[in-house]
């Protein structure tokens, strides 16, 4: 026992080689692994999206079989949601939370290691089903990322079981990550840092962690029901045995709607850190930001059936879910106005993180407005399952969540590596990404309103031009991300040394540590006044 304690006190000791990563209990190493994992999956999921866009470049069948097209849309969605956005946010939380609250590390470092290393296993299973499909051994999951029963139960391919266990592992990983975040924030804050003095990124992650803890078990439950329906004779979703396939959608979206806020609340936190720095003003309306985040989290539990307006709900139900959904625009609007008020009369400069943050505010708000259009019941009957929906959620997830992750990487990369990134390349990356994302997703609004259904490999002739424009945007967007990869590698390897403050007048405990941040963040807690 004594020997172990002695070793524990030897702070600069770390294993070398592969062991450093496999057995890591360090929040920075684990954070880096999460971020690289998400980055890798971003290229995998992106490659699938490019095959989809290549197929949709022209009407008619060109490149892939319709059956394989369904597998592409399914895996693209699953990988981007569970393999990119969520791990990237957990990676940012790992890197930043201890530094921002003045802690040496996360509260539960060993569990932290486990929750990361479950992810490669989970995605190994999921991607194995794709590999087998390509090698002609059965089909990968082909029912869309929402895996509605009975497509995924009665008609699911054999690989559905790979998918089910993969989702179980992802769920365990997310729940453990979330428990770690809550324990860290509750127990490890520096003396004097009350809850209402925490940086907004910490607040948004605190609330997100509770959302994860509340809904990931429901997801685990629904895939377990699928598993027992498929193999153990239960009839949760099978009408023949007294079950109800519509109930699947209720349980799924009870998880699914809070899930979309899990993917956007940390983004709100990031933008609330970046905008004040480059406006050289404190954040406008700090406490209203906290309350708005909490209200959005609460409302996310009572709006789920707005995904199901066309399932034959009675009018009373439709009205309830329509109005509760519209209500979410209020706290979200508070946030957008707060960011704009923070910029108002600020001494603005436009480094790459700020450019991404401003693009986020503008483009996410557009995605929010199309969301408001979709929540109007009579209109939704026209928009449902069209490309308009695809445009809506890509605006909130790509130009929203993904842009905020890129902004965060640019903002904190000098702190992580000790080197400034190449600003010229950063600007190239931003402008190419921002313009191509709009070329890619904006035309989808038009084809959607004109009636082009989603998840279909072929389409009517009149949609051809807009689809070609979208496909061109997709390829520019995809290859622009190679600039980002090159820039990050270049920054890790060297460059102009960053100061501890990194950005002129940057506030926050993370900017009081030297750059690069030491292996253990705050070994003695700072005093917060």
């Amino acid at each position: 026992m004594n020997a172990v304690v002695e070793e524990h006190h030897d702070h600069d000791h770390k294993p070398t080689g592969i062991g450093r990563w496999l057995f890591s209990t360090n929040h920075k190493d684990i954070g880096s692994m999460y971020l690289w994992f998400a980055f890798t999956m971003f290229f995998v999921g992106g490659a699938l999206a490019l095959i989809i866009r290549a197929e949709l470049f022209q009407p008619g069948m060109q490149i892939v079989e319709p059956e394989f097209f369904n597998q592409l849309t399914t895996l693209h969605g699953l990988i981007m949601v569970f393999g990119v956005i969520m791990p990237a946010f957990v990676g940012l939380a790992n890197w930043q939370l201890p530094m921002m609250i003045g802690a040496p590390d996360m509260a539960l470092p060993r569990m932290n290691n486990w929750s990361f290393w479950l992810l490669p296993a989970a995605f190994g299973l999921l991607l194995a089903s794709l590999a087998m499909s390509i090698m002609g051994m059965g089909s990968a999951p082909n029912f869309g990322w929402t895996f509605y029963a009975p497509l995924s139960t009665t008609y699911g391919p054999d690989s559905t079981d790979y998918f089910i266990f993969s989702v179980h592992l992802m769920g365990i990983s997310s729940v453990m990550g979330a428990i770690n975040v809550v324990a860290t924030i509750m127990n490890m804050r520096a003396p004097g840092m009350s809850y209402m003095k925490m940086p907004i990124f910490v607040w948004t992650w605190f609330i997100t962690a509770y959302l994860l803890i509340a809904v990931m078990p429901v997801l685990a439950g629904v895939v377990t029901m699928m598993l027992t329906d498929r193999h153990f004779g239960t009839s949760f979703f099978d009408a023949a045995g007294g079950g109800d396939p519509v109930m699947f959608q209720h349980i799924f979206w009870f998880f699914g709607h809070p899930e979309v806020y899990i993917m956007i609340l940390p983004a709100f936190g990031i933008i609330s850190q970046i905008v004040p720095t480059f406006s050289r003003k404190p954040l406008f309306g700090y406490s209203s930001m906290v309350y708005a985040t909490a209200s959005i989290a609460f409302l996310s539990f009572i709006v789920w059936a707005h995904h199901m307006f066309t399932t034959g709900m009675p009018v009373a139900g439709e009205l309830f879910f329509m109005y509760s959904t519209m209500l979410i625009a209020v706290p979200t609007g508070v946030k957008v106005f707060n960011w704009i008020s923070t910029m108002w009369r600020g001494a603005l400069t436009f480094e790459t993180p700020m450019l991404f943050a401003i693009a986020f505010i503008f483009l996410f708000t557009m995605g929010g407005f199309t969301g408001l259009m979709l929540c109007i019941v009579p209109a939704d009957f026209q928009y449902h399952d069209t490309y308009f929906v695809v445009a809506h959620f890509h605006y909130v997830l790509v130009t929203g969540a993904a842009f905020s992750i890129m902004a965060a990487v640019y903002y904190w990369l000098p702190k992580w590596t000790g080197n400034m990134y190449d600003e010229t390349l950063g600007k190239w990356h931003f402008w190419l990404t921002c313009i191509s994302a709009n070329v890619l997703f904006f035309p989808m609004h038009f084809v959607g309103l004109a009636g082009m259904p989603r998840r279909i490999p072929d389409y009517a002739l009149q949609f051809a031009e807009f689809n070609q424009i979208a496909s061109i945007g997709a390829f520019v967007f995809g290859f622009s991300q190679l600039i980002f990869l090159y820039l990050v590698i270049k920054c890790v390897r060297g460059g102009k040394k960053a100061t501890s403050e990194v950005w002129e007048g940057a506030q926050g405990l993370e900017f009081e540590l030297p750059s690069p941040a030491p292996f253990h963040s705050y070994t003695t807690p700072p005093e917060v006044k």
Binding site: V5, M186, N187, M225, G242, G312
Partner: protein
């Protein structure tokens, strides 16, 4: 040493409570299943009709208006039966018990046990649609080539809102057991109770 232990001690209650929350939410996912059924039954949303109704007193008949009840029949894709109502609709006085027949015929060469699942449209009318007798309350077995009349006795409640003047009753027949299995009354009974058909 003491630092390390203190840290572990303050984390334990937090982790314990959060794990409990995780377990509760996993249970809640399952609790949604009966809650959903109860909710649908109480509100009549989703067109789910209630259990068998036992009439304790003669229902009030509203002779002032007629409600048209339309009958639909469909088969699950793997069901090799023929299934249709004897008449496509009937006009009834609310409150008056009415019996109509469906006809089912097994076209396959094997004995098949089927389970009919009812649904009422519009969904809000389900609460006013009571069945005193129905072939859907139990499983039905048909021998190869056998044809059978399937009666259903229903009452449209006289409380049915005035603006509803048409109710659609539809049944879907599913194969509920492996084809060669013999019918077991207990199974049929427990299925009926468990799932509130």
């Amino acid at each position: 040493m003491t630092d390390h232990n203190q840290q572990t001690n303050i984390n334990k209650p937090v982790v314990g409570k959060l794990l409990l929350l995780v377990a509760m939410m996993f249970g809640f996912g399952y609790a949604l299943v009966p809650l959903y059924d109860v909710f649908c039954e109480v509100t009549g949303l989703n067109g789910k009709t209630g259990d068998q109704v036992n009439l304790t007193s003669a229902p009030v008949v509203d002779g002032s208006r007629l409600v048209r009840v339309t009958f639909l029949a469909s088969l699950n894709e793997s069901m090799p039966w023929e299934f249709k109502p004897q008449q496509s609709f009937i006009e009834v006085y609310p409150g008056k018990p009415t019996t109509i027949n469906y006809i089912a015929k097994n076209k396959s060469k094997e004995s098949i046990i089927g389970q009919a699942v009812p649904s009422v449209a519009p969904g809000l009318a389900a609460a006013y649609f009571q069945k005193t007798e129905c072939f859907c309350f139990t499983q039905q077995e048909l021998k190869p080539g056998e044809e059978k009349l399937m009666p259903v006795t229903f009452i449209v409640d006289s409380e049915l809102p005035q603006h509803m003047n048409e109710v659609i009753l539809s049944y879907t027949f599913f194969t509920s057991t492996e084809n060669n299995q013999v019918s077991q009354p207990e199974v049929a009974l427990s299925l009926n109770q468990d799932h509130k058909l």
